[in-house]
Amino acid sequence: MSHFTKLKTKILDKNCLLKALTNLNYVFEENSTIRGYNRRTRRGNIVIKANGDYDIGFVRKSNEEPFQILADWYGAAQSIGCSRKDFINNVQKEYATTKVLHELRKKGYRIKSRSISNTGEIKLLVVKRGFVSR
């Protein structure tokens, strides 16, 4: 019996998030201020310092919770050069890829093939030899 599983990605691993943001060429600061409209600010665990007066932050109350994205999108979209939806999708996708590869390598999987479809879907085929099941 095999199975097919769908997962909704939650951003839980800080190191993988930092790596994903680096891969996407974002400049960020840890434990910094998120700047919004009219010089209002919020604290962020990780803050992307974009061009302009608006920042995009990742916040969470405890290490067990997933990160939430916090920004004043009125100005942040312009600062970062893409819409809220595109930004969130890009970050989620890069994070998911980074995290999946990290976890697979830790478990000794080898990547057999990797491809990206026209619609931007990433496909991975991975294998682990001599798996011993109890």
């Binding site: 095999s2 599983t5 769908k6 997962l7 990605t9 999708n89 093939s113 879907e121 991975l124 798996f131």
Partner: protein, 68 residues
């Protein structure tokens, strides 16, 4: 105890959600073998179990790999 190859086909969609299928394991072993992915990534939204999937698919899969 049995020794098998385990193969995962993973798709990450444009929103960063993940789907995968497992080939090469029988019975309960397949859910246990991929638990690390479920735990690491988030929340399971759908899971289907398929019987006799592996034997039929192995040949087709090899053809794809050879082309790559």
């Amino acid at each position: 105890m049995s020794s098998d190859n385990i193969e995962l086909e993973i798709t990450i969609d444009e929103k960063g959600n993940i789907s995968y299928s497992v080939n090469g394991l029988k019975g309960k072993g397949c859910s246990e073998a991929t638990k690390f992915l479920d735990d690491a990534l988030g929340e399971i939204t759908k899971r289907d179990f398929k019987r006799d999937f592996y034997e039929q698919n192995q040949k087709g899969l090899n053809r794809v790999i050879n082309r790559v």
